[in-house]
């Protein structure tokens, strides 16, 4: 079991939001939304995760970070507009 922090920072507007969908070993694990800049902390069971992010960034862009204790953080910067990106995480 490991703690993983999901964070989103939106700039230049108030409508920024991101939906995170976690699939573990090919099966849906959990779904949550960060509306406006914020973080969500989850305790994840060991496994191979595909974390899909669907989001929309305001004109100032968005910064999405998925970090867990054993791996360095993965900050990702996005321009204004729709965001479709997935991350593979092994725990």
């Amino acid at each position: 079991m490991k703690q993983v922090q999901f964070s989103a920072v939106f700039s230049g507007g108030t409508f920024g939001f991101a939906e995170f969908k976690l699939r573990r070993n090919g099966l849906l694990y959990t779904v949550f939304v960060i509306r406006g800049s914020g973080t969500n902390l989850l305790v994840l069971e060991p496994g191979l995760y595909l974390i899909s992010v669907q989001a929309v960034a305001p004109p100032g862009g968005a910064e999405i970070t998925i970090s867990e204790p054993t791996n360095p953080p993965t900050p990702d910067f996005f321009d204004e507009g729709p965001i479709f990106k997935s991350y593979v995480l092994s725990i």
């Binding site: 700039s11 409508f15 406006g36 595909l50 669907q54 729709p82 479709f84 990106k85 997935s86």
Partner: protein, 388 residues
């Protein structure tokens, strides 16, 4: 050849209209108007130093003029970029809605040669989609198809390669490349394996080989943004200018304007209403001395029909019908009417990208006078191209 024809048309138009010719000087040399973009970021001291350097460079340059048009929030961001984060952004209403313009001129001997100042505040700005409460719902709904496609493919990739991290990473990377912002990748450029996965995940769908996921999603986003372009906007402004020989105001204008589209925002041709009122304090040139003792009140309201080109979406013809009321509160000249009410009609059509020709007719119902005005408004940026 084309350029020469444009030039000839312009010369003929100017000759023909020379008695009422009017050039929109605001748009001439617009590249010389500085904004926050020209000011470097840094701490307050650096920003101020950069600002004064810029002003000094322009005032000692060939035009001897410094013009700045900026949003106050954009200026604040130069010293503190964190203010752009949504929670701070929301709180800075006053700064976001405030715009400042100023224009200072020197003569050939580097002496003060006049200045103009303007401050504009958006009292209500429904065009600012960045704060629109319904934007999130609208864009999320508009992107539903893209979201479903991405989600279904992700689900199948996760399932197919759940026992093989390397393949999961490889195909996830390829999919990310296809869906990434700014990607121009076509569906046809995907690997056969990924195409097979996508077709398996979405058997009822046919994918055009030229379909670009990222570009298509961005177009949807822009379309949703565009729905806010014609929403209600109400601004108030204060403008003042000085005499050219001293720092004393020669006129002050207090004005307000409200405008909004009233037809379907997705329609190519639309109608918008426009109401404005202005209170002007002017120097009475008949009297000696410099006092703003001539005051005028003017108001105008009307509807503007905008007709757009089917292919470019640019406005090609505009027809405005309005009423106008002018009232001189103080300082009426001899043989001048204190009140004037007119019905106006303005037809503007676009000759080229840069040239608009407006025809304006004013009707005074009291005296049954018809004032016909014909004017040409243009910025002449394209003339630079003719020189090269």
């Amino acid at each position: 050849m084309k350029k020469n024809i444009k030039f000839l048309i312009l010369l003929l138009a100017m000759t023909w209209l020379n008695s009422h010719g009017q050039v929109d000087t605001n748009s001439v040399k617009k590249e010389l108007i500085r904004s926050d973009v020209n000011i470097r970021s840094g701490n307050t001291r650096d920003v101020l130093t950069n600002f004064f350097q810029l002003a000094l460079n322009d005032l000692t340059g060939p035009d001897k003029r410094f013009r700045l048009s900026t949003n106050l929030f954009a200026l604040r961001l130069k010293t503190n970029p964190k203010l752009n984060i949504d929670s701070f952004y929301k709180r800075n209403t006053f700064w976001r809605n405030s715009n400042l313009d100023f224009d200072v001129k020197l003569d050939s001997n580097y002496k003060f040669n006049g200045a103009a100042f303007g401050y504009r505040y958006a009292i209500v700005n429904k065009r600012d989609f960045t704060l629109a409460k319904d934007f999130e719902r609208l864009i999320w709904t508009a992107l539903e198809d893209h979201r479903k496609i991405a989600d279904t493919i992700n689900g199948l990739i996760a399932k197919t390669f759940s026992g093989n991290p390397n393949l999961l990473i490889r195909f996830n990377d390829e999919l990310n490349e296809y869906t990434a912002q700014g990607s121009n990748k076509r569906f046809g450029e995907l690997s056969d394996t990924l195409k097979r996965i996508i077709k398996t995940a979405l058997p009822d769908r046919t994918f055009d080989e030229d379909w670009r996921f990222a570009r298509s999603a961005k177009e949807i986003y822009v379309n949703v943004k565009d729905r806010y372009k014609n929403k209600f906007l109400w601004v108030a402004s204060l403008n003042a200018s000085t005499y050219s020989d001293g720092f004393l105001f020669s006129n002050i204008d207090l004005s307000t304007q409200a405008t909004s589209g009233i037809s379907n925002p997705d329609a190519r041709n639309n109608v918008e209403f426009d109401i404005n009122a202005k209170l002007s304090f002017l120097d009475d040139t008949i009297k000696t001395g410099r006092k703003l003792n001539r005051q005028m009140l003017s108001a105008e309201g009307g509807l503007n029909w905008v007709f757009r080109d089917r292919n470019t979406d640019k406005s090609i013809l505009e027809l405005k019908g309005s009423f106008e009321y002018n009232y001189i509160l103080n300082g009426v000249y001899a043989n001048e009417e204190r009140r004037l009410f007119t019905l106006n009609a303005t037809l503007r059509f676009r000759v080229t990208d840069e040239i608009w020709i407006p025809f304006e007719i004013k009707y005074d119902p009291e005296d049954s006078n018809v004032f016909g005005f014909l004017s040409i408004k243009s910025n002449f940026d394209w003339l630079k191209g003719l020189r090269n």
